[in-house]
Subunit: 209 residues, 2 copies
């Protein structure tokens, strides 16, 4: 292990590197920090320590903690969504709504599996996030909800159901999906992708049609 905060000895003069490289290094360290200790444990001081440089370096690269987090979130969100798009199947027009949902969940969970730290960042309850980050995440969530809503509407049309309140249904689905992802993150051995999709599948199967 070549990296890690050295104990009490004097900090060795950190290896020089071009700003862009250091930037990604700092972002990596921050992501790891948050994954390990939550948003609470994050500070410019701590980030600098974890990166193996001193504060002014971090301040020079990202003006404030908010900016740093925003940059991190942007990077991870892009990566995560991009990868999710890769895994997400594009449903044919004549597809079974049930199947679409299950496949979607499956793709999502596999994306979570592939980039757990990134998703931990996003799936952390907003109450625990610093104000600025919360906004970004909530905006994104709203956007996803809107997309999901159209799918659900289309799905409901094909069912004989008494559910009228599509808004609540969409929110309920989101909450359940996010919960599944959190469970998987917390204990992947217990909450396997298979188990979670299997459950969802049987849940949907027991809805009247």
């Amino acid at each position: 292990m070549s990296s890690g905060p050295e104990k009490t000895g004097k900090r060795p003069y950190a290896a020089r590197m071009p700003p862009e490289e250091r930037r990604t290094q700092v972002l990596d360290a921050t992501l790891k920090l948050i994954a390990e200790r939550g948003y609470e444990g994050v500070s410019m001081e701590g980030v600098a320590r974890a990166t193996g440089v001193t504060k002014p370096v971090v301040y020079d690269l990202f003006g404030t903690l908010a900016d740093l987090l925003e940059a991190l979130l942007e990077r991870e969100e892009e990566r995560a969504l991009l990868q999710l798009a890769e895994l997400m199947p594009t449903p044919r027009a004549d597809a079974d709504p049930e199947e679409v949902l299950v496949d979607g969940l499956n793709a999502f969970l596999r994306s979570v599996e592939a980039r757990p730290d990134a998703w931990r960042l996003i799936l952390t309850p907003t109450e625990a996030m610093p104000g600025r980050v919360r906004e970004v995440v909530e905006t994104q969530r709203t956007r996803i909800a809107a997309q999901l809503e159209s799918i659900v509407r289309w799905g409901l049309e094909q069912l004989t159901t008494e559910i009228e309140d599509v808004e609540l249904l969409v929110e309920a689905i989101i909450v359940m999906v996010e919960n599944a992802a959190r469970q998987h993150l917390e204990d992947p051995g217990r909450y396997t992708t298979e188990r979670l999709t299997e459950f969802t599948s049987s849940l949907l199967a027991s809805v009247k049609r």
Copy 2:
């Protein structure tokens, strides 16, 4: 601008009162603080300020912040659960499982309505809580889950359904119920008790039997 500690002049010597009374006063102030600004905004310093006394007073009454929070949680949990028990109907043996769940949710939401601050305390995502408090809440949650599990098992027996994974079902239900409560706390006008129970009712109605 004008909220918070008075700027000018010395703190007036706070009215004397017996420790027990001061204790409840401190707990009240803490509850209000958390309801308004979340767990993040809580400190011994801040609690003392909000109560209108100085730190040593708080330290003398509750040794540490963790102890204070524990005391508060205990008090509020007891009050809340007690009141919930009052509102919760005791189902007859021949009751409809669907009805039992809907009535239960209804009782729960009315309890939340009656003591919003207390429930906000408990329903705040555990990630945002200080470690000690988290444990207490999670323990309680586990206990509730166990109770719910037996009800759900009984309910499933009366349905023709393919759902096998009772554990996941119970957890999903809890998540949805908690989410309903959070929605109601966040925007009671938009997420009324009626709307939420109505939705649940129709959701349950569209499950095969």
